[in-house]
Symmetry: C2
Subunit: 342 residues, 2 copies
DNA sequence: CTGAAAGCGCTTACAG
DNA sequence: CTGAAAGCGCTTACAG
C-alpha cells in the first residue's frame, strides 16, 4: 500500500459535510463554528454535535486564503544553534515566546535559518504560511536582518538590530548599557583595577552598548579602561579572547565577559594559567543562562530577563496583529546576580 | 500608523498581476512558473521577467487549497526540551533532519509539544499546514503517540514507539539491543564484575531493548546481572539513580547508564562519594552527545548516529510523500566510542 | 501552444 | 435568524 492511498482514505470532512449532517446550510454551520450566538439553539447544537462526531477541523489553507489568520507565528533561529551546547540563550527566549503564543491560541513554529540558503526564511514569510515572526538577534543571523526589512508580515525583534528594518519596528531589548555599568561597578567596588573586557562582535548593537556602559562607568571612577578584545559570544571565542587578554595584561585582576559562554571559556584559560577565580582574578559574565549557575565556581553575571523578553515579544506581536495599540519598543532591566566568580 | 495599514500597503502581487504585466493569460503564467517547457520562449521570458520585477511569490494557502504541497514538514519537539541544557540529544537528530529537508526544498518547522495542551499538535497536523511530520520519541512526549496514530499526514518516527501508531509506519531507530550488548561486553572485558545499570523509563522501547541486550550479554559471560535502577534519561535522574545504586551495592565497580546525561549525573555522585572514575568504577554512557566528549573525564559511550537518524527520517518521509518505494523501517548501527571513563 | 473555466474549502456581505 | 452566492489565488483538465 502506498502512502498516497492511505492519505486518500483518511480524507478530511469539510464544513459542507458537517452542514449536511446537521441539516443546515453551509453558512449556518460556519456561523456556529465561528462562535456566533444569533443562531437557533437546536441548529447550533446539531452543528456542534456533527462537527465533533466527524472530527471536523477548519481547513487551514481555505481559512488563510479567505483572508483569515494562519494561526501560526514563526520563531527564527540560527541553524547552527541547533548543533551545540550553546543553545541556552536562544532557548530561554524561545520558551517565553512559546508560552505567550500558546496563551494566544497561536501555534509557535521554529524556523531554522540556514547559512546556505539565505532566502528560504524571507520566502517563507512571504508565502503567507504564518501571521508574523519573532527574530532573536544572534551573531550568525545578522546577515538576515536586511533581507527581512520588507517583510509583508510583522516582525518582533528581540535585541535591537543595526541597519534598516522598516518603519516603526517592534523591538524588545534589555538594558545592555546599564548591564555594562553594573559589571564595571561590581568589579571596581571589589577593588579590581586592572580590568579587561571580552566583548562581542562590533556589528552587534548589544556588544557596543555593553562596552559603552562599562567604559563610562570606569571613567566615572577615574579608572582607565583596560584592553578590549572581541569574541562572538561562543565559548570557544571566549577561550581565545582570554588568552589574548592575558598576554597583553599579565597583571589582570578582573574580566567582564559579555556572555556567560565566553566567561566559561575565559575561566578555563585562567585556571589553566594557574590563576584562581575569584582569588586572583574576578570574572563577571552576561546573560545568566543555566550554565552560569552550573559553572564551577558559579558565575557572577549580569542577568538579562530572557524568558520575559520572549514573552514580551510574543504578546506585543500578537497585540499588533490584532490591531491593538501596543508599546512597540520595550527595554527590560538587567540586574547583577552575585555568585562566586567575583 | 497601525500595523494593519502597513500590511495593506505591502499587499502581495498575484499570478494575475504577473500575467497581465507579461501580456499573457493566467494559465500561461502558471505554466511558466511551474517550469513547463512547452511555452513560447518570448512569453516565458516575459513572465519570468515580470515575476521577478514584481517580487511574485506563490500564495501558500492557494497552492495548498488547490491540492498541492504545503512545502513544510513539522518536527515535533518536547516543550521542556527547550528550557534546559539537555537539548543535545534532540538537537543532533534535528540537525540531520533539517539538512535532509532543506535538500528536498522543504521548510523545516519545529513544533514544540506542550504538556498543557495535548491537542494542539494533532490539530495542527490535521489543519493541512504541513505535509508531514517527524516525531522524535522522548520521554516527555510519549503521551502524544496515541493521539498521533490517526494523523491524516504521514509521520516518520525516530525511535520505535510502543502502542498503536497506524499501519505500516515509518520508523527510524538505532540498534538499542546491540548497544546494550556492547556496553556489557566492554565492562566485562575490562574485568568488571559488580555491574549495575541505570536504564530509562519502562514505557520506552529504547530503555527495554538496551537493558535486554545488556542482560543477555552478561548471561553469555556467566555473570549475574547487577541491580537495575530507573531514570528518565535526564542528568538529575542519573544523579538520583546512582545514589540508589551505590546504596544497594557498595562494592560496585561498573555502571552502564543508558544516556550520557544520566552518566554525567552518575559520575558526579561517584566522585562526591570518593570513587575515582575509571580507577574504582568504570562508567559507560549511551548516545554520544557533545557532553560525552566534554565531560571530565571524557565519557566512554555507546554511540547512536543521531544526525544520520534525523537525515534518514527526513529522506524517507519525503520519499514516501512523493510516492517513492521507500524502506519504511530502518535500524542504524550503534558502536562503542572509547574515551576515558572505562 | 494558449486561454476560458472549474473548483479546492472557507467566510461574509447581501437578500430574504 | 437563515440561505444562496461571491470570491480569496491557484492549477489543471478541457476546448480550441
Amino acid at each position: 500500500m502506498t502512502l498516497t492511498e492511505e492519505e486518500g482514505a483518511m480524507s478530511r470532512p469539510t464544513i459542507v459535510d458537517v452542514a449536511r449532517a446537521a441539516g443546515v446550510s453551509r453558512a449556518t454551520a460556519a456561523r456556529v463554528l465561528a462562535g456566533a450566538t444569533n443562531v437557533d439553539p437546536a441548529m447550533a447544537a446539531a452543528v456542534g454535535r456533527e462537527a465533533a462526531r466527524l472530527g471536523y477541523e477548519t481547513n487551514f489553507a481555505a481559512r488563510v486564503l479567505r483572508g483569515g489568520r494562519a494561526g501560526a507565528i514563526g520563531l527564527v533561529i540560527a541553524f547552527d544553534e541547533l548543533g551545540g551546547l550553546s543553545g541556552t540563550f536562544f532557548t530561554a527566549v524561545m520558551k517565553g515566546a512559546a508560552k505567550g503564543l500558546s496563551a494566544g491560541e497561536v501555534q509557535p513554529v521554529l524556523l531554522p535559518a540556514d547559512h546556505e540558503d539565505l532566502d528560504r526564511i524571507p520566502r517563507f514569510l512571504r508565502s503567507g504560511a504564518i501571521d508574523g515572526a519573532i527574530v532573536v538577534l544572534q551573531h550568525e543571523i545578522t546577515h538576515l536582518v536586511d533581507r527581512l526589512a520588507d517583510s509583508p508580515v510583522p516582525i518582533a525583534w528581540v535585541g535591537r538590530p543595526r541597519g534598516e528594518i522598516g518603519p516603526d519596528p517592534i523591538v524588545i531589548d534589555s538594558d545592555n548599557y546599564g548591564g555594562g555599568v553594573l559589571a564595571a561597578r561590581a568589579l571596581v567596588e571589589h577593588g579590581r583595577r586592572n580590568i579587561g573586557i571580552i566583548t562581542g562582535p562590533l556589528d552587534m548593537e548589544q556588544a557596543r552598548e555593553r562596552t559603552r556602559g562599562w567604559t563610562d562607568e570606569l571613567a566615572r571612577h577615574g579608572i582607565e579602561p583596560g584592553p578590549i578584545v572581541h569574541g562572538d559570544f561562543t565559548l570557544d571565542s571566549g577561550t581565545a579572547a582570554m588568552a589574548r587578554l592575558l598576554q597583553r595584561v599579565p597583571t589582570l585582576d578582573g574580566v567582564f565577559a559579555c556572555s556567560d559562554l565566553m566567561a566559561a571559556g575565559a575561566m578555563r584559560v585562567l585556571q589553566a594559567a594557574g590563576r584562581r577565580v575569584p582569588t586572583d582574578v574576578s570574572l563577571v559574565g552576561f546573560d545568566d543562562i543555566l550554565l552560569a549557575a552550573a559553572n564551577d565556581p558559579p558565575l557572577t553575571t549580569v542577568r538579562q530577563p530572557l524568558e520575559e523578553m520572549g514573552r514580551a515579544a510574543a504578546d506585543t506581536l500578537l497585540g499588533a496583529i490584532r490591531g491593538d495599540d501596543v508599546e512597540r519598543v520595550q527595554v527590560l532591566p538587567t540586574s547583577l546576580v552575585h555568585r562566586e566568580s567575583l
